[in-house]
């Protein structure tokens, strides 16, 4: 037994010796907390980083903790930063607060690509390589659904050269499931064999209310000349589970291991840190923990505390809380409500987007990115930004002293619009808005639905087409903002302190569906007409018309006696 303890420390020492080349680091963590409505949120993060030569030098060939295939993709397609997520389910902003890693339903890929190389070709190749790696249909990303956002997404890395181009695409219909999770898990250093990743039981996580898996890759220059960089590969998994549905739910207590129906049997010692954190509303709720934590850390941003357990050491058999935790309200100050589809019929329609600022003192600036497929013909002249002045929106009232601001808001020229081109590019609407305190804004516009070609419809054409989520980046002012100094929202957005990204839910649009047996009907109809035409002309040419010759007193029977035609 004693011998057992010694190797542990020795191994740890050896690790640092082994890692001298480029100093790769790996840390894994899962944060678990109760949500307001009793659901459990688990957020897994697996972060790796390593010092590497610059991206343009193609110098990285030997991999230890970094996944070879990810680095290969990044190097080959010259994408110094890219983010990919697969999400299913609805994130309930109102009750759950902001998500740990915002992601829209379906698949989302956005990347910064090096402008020294062919950006569009590399973007297509990146999508198809990732599609192969994650068994997803990302290969459906092409120029017709790729957008070029301006400042909705902020780069987290830094690269050599300023010639960096962003591309963004979403596939709202992509269903994330086990076939995507398996390759995702295989990229982890300990796979799902050791460490906290063992908890990711597909039967449980895909059974939850919401799940999202993501991978974020970025290069960061270490010096001005960018000869050395850090390559960071972060994988994260967010799951919202319902403890009521798990078998281990007794009374109001829950335990992580029964929630996931898995135990951590093997430790992942190659990780620099491997921790499990339980988020508690305050320091006093420590008594509700099923087992004492090795560390309790306050989290100043949200005012909560985090009880930390070390997954590299010996783990207790139960990790959870005894009774329900009361988190006081949500911390969301601004939120972006679902897109609402208006209009009826298969010809015309409209979209309305709600943005609410629930904060009573601070104004917010939002940058809204709406990317619509080319088959929705958006009418920019119908674009309206309205506020329910004096009316109660939910529990909020737009107070009257803000009115003058609202008039200004609409007059500010902050709309960037790129019209769609059929089958070539989507339409892109980019709006910067000031959202005054305690106000609800509604942005709406109309569109026409166009007719698609027969072959452009999916196999289940009557189901309708999914419109991707719209993205809102919201910037908050630290302090109360002087209304008289309200400036151009674009400038205001770029100078805002915190920006958070939010997505709406995708909406389903019914497009005019053709009768798919039509081509055959057309073929038959045309052929019949042609045959009819041919037959009549042919008959006219070959038929002989003989007059009836009535010869009196002769009763000779024969040709032409009673027929006019033969």
């Amino acid at each position: 037994m004693l011998l057992h303890a010694i190797p542990g420390s020795l191994i740890a020492a050896l690790f640092y010796v082994a890692r001298c080349d480029g100093n790769p680091t790996y840390s894994e963590n899962v944060d678990v907390r109760s949500l307001q409505d009793g659901k459990i949120l688990a957020h897994f993060t697996f972060a790796r980083s390593q010092t590497v030569p610059s991206l343009r030098s193609q110098g990285l060939h030997h991999f230890d903790l970094l996944p070879r295939q990810i680095a290969e993709i990044t190097q080959t397609f010259k994408a110094p930063e890219w983010h990919l997520s697969f999400t299913q389910g609805r994130w309930d902003m109102k009750r759950w607060g902001p998500p740990p890693r915002p992601a829209p339903t379906g698949a989302e890929l956005y990347a910064w690509l090096d402008g020294e190389y062919d950006v569009n070709a590399n973007w297509a190749a990146l999508a198809s390589a990732l599609s192969g790696l994650f068994c997803a249909s990302l290969n459906f990303i092409d120029h017709s659904n790729t957008a070029f956002p301006i400042d909705t997404f902020t780069s987290e890395g830094s690269y050599e050269g300023d010639d960096i181009h962003i591309r963004h695409a979403t596939l709202p219909r992509e269903a994330a499931c086990t076939e995507n999770l398996t390759p995702w898990l295989k990229l982890l250093p300990c796979q799902a064999k050791a460490g906290i990743a063992q908890l990711l039981n597909p039967h449980r996580v895909f059974d939850g209310n919401y799940h999202s898996m993501a991978i974020d890759v970025r290069w960061k220059c270490l010096d001005d000349s960018c000869s050395l960089s850090t390559l960071e590969v972060d994988q994260s998994f967010t799951a919202v589970l319902d403890p009521l549905r798990s078998e281990g739910y007794v009374g109001r207590s829950w335990d992580i291991f029964s929630l996931f129906d898995r135990k951590i049997e093997k430790r992942c010692l190659i990780a620099d840190s491997s921790t499990i954190g339980l988020v508690l509303p305050d320091i006093n709720s420590q008594s509700k923990l099923l087992s004492p934590a090795s560390q309790v850390l306050p989290m100043p941003e949200s005012g909560t505390v985090r009880a930390v357990y070390d997954a590299k050491g010996d783990l207790v058999s139960e990790l959870g809380v005894r009774e329900a935790l009361n988190f006081s309200g949500t911390t969301t100050r601004v939120y972006h409500k679902a897109d609402i589809l208006s209009g009826h019929g298969q010809e015309k329609g409209g979209v309305a987007i709600h943005i609410l600022n629930r904060n009573s003192n601070y104004d917010a600036v939002a940058s809204l990115l709406e990317s619509y497929p080319w088959w929705l013909r958006v009418y920019l002249h119908t674009l309206k930004v309205e506020t329910r002045e004096g009316t109660i929106v939910g529990e909020f009232t737009c107070t009257s002293q803000k009115n003058y601001k609202l008039t200004m808001l609409v007059s500010v020229p902050s709309v960037h619009y790129q019209p769609a081109r059929d089958r070539e590019r989507p339409s892109l609407l980019y709006v910067h808005l000031n959202v005054p305190a305690n106000c609800s804004l509604v942005l709406s516009f109309d569109f026409d639905k166009s007719h698609l070609r027969y072959t452009e419809h999916p196999p289940d054409a009557s189901r309708g087409f999914d419109l991707g989520a719209s993205v809102a980046s919201v910037g908050m002012w630290e302090n109360a903002h002087d209304p008289s100094k309200l400036v151009d929202p674009v400038l205001a957005f770029r100078s805002a302190a915190h920006t958070t990204r939010m997505y709406t839910d995708p909406i389903l649009v019914a497009l005019p569906t053709p009768d798919f047996s039509m081509p055959y009907n057309v073929v038959t109809m045309t052929c019949t007409l042609l045959a009819f035409l041919f037959g009549s002309v042919f008959n006219m040419l070959t038929r002989r018309f003989n007059p009836v010759v009535v010869e009196q007193q002769k009763t000779e029977t024969g040709d032409g006696s009673e027929t006019s035609e033969r």
Binding site: L3, I6, P7, L10, I11, L14, F15, V17, A18, D21, H61, H62, F63, D64, L65, P67, R68, Q69, I70, E72, I73, T76, F77, A125, A129, G132, L133, K186, L187, C190, Q191, K193, A194, K266, R267, C268, L269, I270, V523, T524, T526, C527, T528, L530, A531, F532, F534, G535, F538, N539, M540, L541, T542, R544, F545, N546, P547, V549, D559, R566
Partner: protein
């Protein structure tokens, strides 16, 4: 046509006449009218058959670029792909023997011996109707270098021997030295690391001895090469193929070499490897000397926590317990579900090398052959895939398992040896079994420790790849031609035709280069042969060759049936009616007469 118009005119006039309600006079059936009817129907038929049907056929058929079928099927002719390689041997002997007639003697004797060995050559296997394996000739010519003298050996041996230097390919040196002066035995032969052979004789001026030794050494080396060239062109047949041919990877212009350290249990033992310098020492030199044949990209990775899919058998000896994998287990060794071995970006064929560290519960793990003996290097090779080395960490003084740099060095040597076999590099040896009893001989073959490949080996590989690529390109083109001809509905794009023509041109260029008498063309021939194969394969595997929408002729007819059937009914009915009328008129005419 004129007849049709006239008839139409007459018919309109008559119709008009009827409309105007003028009393019509009986129109007597005239000879003229019946024959004009006949002309009408005949012209309609002619228009349909001459214009309509071909036009319909032309507008509805699939696009097929014209392919040079004659040239493609010419490749299947016996002897069409035969190539001959010039082998140039410079003999270095005592000055007294350096006569041109003696060199001719050696050449003739070598040729004679090689012809005798021809009898024992392996039979060529191939399926009928395909491209037959070509006969390759190695034309050995021996001569003396006039400016040369015996003292040149040291200089030649000390040469850095850039084995890939194109001007040296196919040029060999045979030295005959005095055994006593060099204090070695009579009949010792050293095959050097470059392109040189040294034979030590008691009396290097004995003409008949030199002749017998030189001719036998040369014929032995090149007969062996001819055998390997024959094996390379024979079609796959497990029963006659020898092992080295099964191991050899199919040719590709680029390969991905992926070296993975599979550590099934990092919690008990962690292996650190200085992969950069290990590769630099053991693998890189070999790969860079082969760069004129294929290029290689090398990557390494470490995979943790997932073991092999087979469970080894526990074997208990008197002293210790070990775990054993038998040849039947090795087949399932690779855990392709959990080991990330493929590349996400490249379609080049991978060569995988695994250093496998078994979990603690399965150590020490040994690999046994079919006779249950432990394999010396604890490694095995998977033909055309890669190699696996099992690494059992040792326990050090602290009870921690560690692997030394020395161990890793041995493992990488094994890996380099596997790589040689996979790439088809053959060790040059003299075939002692066929040696005449009168010659005493002890042969040693020096490996090139700097680059991992000797000049002789490089040349042999080069010639093997040229012949193989040439034949494979011809076979691919031939099967492509057969395929296109057998499927008349297959779409053939222009790009396919361009690629096929490129491949044919490259085949011709290779042959032209090889038929030249000057030697330094072998490398260019190798390049054009590889180009021929790449173009032929890219034409064969082009995605447009497998059309997603495939319409057989029945479908084409079926689409037009709603038009053809009604049109045909009225056409045939009308024609019959007129023919019948014409015949009855003729009959009545005859009767009347």
């Amino acid at each position: 046509m004129v007849a049709v118009l006239q008839r139409l005119k007459g018919w309109i006039q008559r119709l008009r006449g009827r409309n105007s309600a003028i009393d019509v006079v009986a129109v007597k059936e005239s000879v003229d009218e019946t024959s004009s009817e006949l002309i009408t129907i005949a012209s309609i038929w002619i228009v349909i058959l001459v214009v309509g049907v071909p036009w319909w056929w032309a507008t509805t058929r699939v696009y097929r670029a014209s392919l040079p079928f004659d040239d493609i099927f010419d490749l299947a002719e016996e002897g069409r792909l035969d190539v001959s390689f010039a082998i140039d041997v410079t003999l270095h002997t005592v000055p007294g023997l350096a006569r041109d007639d003696f060199a001719l003697h050696v050449s003739d004797a070598t040729k004679q011996l090689m012809d005798q060995n021809l009898v024992s050559d392996i039979p060529l296997v191939y399926t009928n109707g395909s491209v037959p394996p070509p006969h390759t000739k190695l034309a050995v010519s021996v001569h003396f270098d006039s400016a040369d003298h015996i003292g040149a050996l040291d200089e030649a041996a000390a040469d850095p021997l850039d084995i890939t230097n194109s001007s040296l390919v196919g040029k060999y040196h045979l030295y005959v030295l005095n055994s006593a002066e060099n204090s070695v035995g009579h009949g010792d032969v050293t095959i050097g690391s470059g392109r040189d052979i040294v034979v030590y004789l008691e009396d290097p001026s004995d003409e008949s001895q030199v002749l017998r030794y030189a001719s036998w050494i040369l014929s032995s080396i090149f007969s062996e090469e001819r055998r390997s060239l024959r094996r390379v062109v024979s079609e796959e047949d497990r029963s006659t193929q020898e092992h080295d041919m099964i191991k050899m990877l199919p040719y590709a212009p680029n390969y991905n070499v992926i070296i993975s350290l599979i550590n099934a249990d990092p919690n008990t033992s962690l292996i650190s490897w200085d992969i950069g310098s290990l590769l630099e020492a053991h693998v890189r030199p070999l790969l860079s000397s082969l760069s004129s044949i294929s290029t290689f990209s090398v990557q390494s990775q470490v995979q943790y926590h997932s073991g092999a899919t087979v469970t080894p058998t526990r074997q208990r000896d008197s002293a210790d317990t070990s775990f054993v994998l038998r040849p039947s287990d090795l087949r399932n060794f690779i855990n392709s579900a959990e080991w990330l071995l493929s590349s996400a970006v490249s379609a080049d064929p991978p060569i995988n090398f695994l250093l496998y560290v078994p979990p603690e519960s399965q150590r020490p793990l040994r690999i046994c052959d079919s006779d249950d003996r432990v394999v010396p290097r604890n490694a095995f090779l998977i033909p055309r895939w890669g190699g696996v080395v099992v690494l059992n960490p040792k326990l050090d003084a602290f009870g921690t398992e560690r692997t030394d740099a020395d161990d890793l060095k041995t493992h990488f040597e094994t890996l380099a040896e596997h790589l040689r076999q996979l790439l088809g590099i053959q060790r040059i040896e003299l075939n002692q079994a066929m040696r005449p009893a009168s010659l005493t001989m002890r042969a040693t073959s020096l490996g090139n420790t700097d680059t991992g490949i000797t000049g002789f080996e490089f040349d042999r590989l080069l010639r093997k790849r040229i012949v193989q690529n040439l034949v494979n390109a011809a076979r691919t083109l031939h099967s492509l031609g057969t395929l296109v001809q057998s499927m008349p509905n297959m779409v053939v794009q222009d790009s396919i035709s361009v690629q096929i023509k490129d491949a044919l041109r490259s085949i011709k260029q290779t042959q032209d280069l090889l038929s030249q008498t000057t030697l330094p063309v072998t490398l260019s021939a190798s390049r054009s042969a590889s180009l021929a194969l790449t173009s032929a394969e890219s034409a064969f595997f082009d995605p447009t060759m497998v059309s997603k929408l495939y319409f057989p002729d029945e479908h084409r007819l079926a689409i037009y049936t709603p038009f053809f059937v009604p049109a045909a009914v009225s056409l045939f009915a009308g024609s019959f009616k007129i023919l019948k009328r014409y015949r009855s008129r003729n009959l009545s005419k005859i009767k009347m007469e």
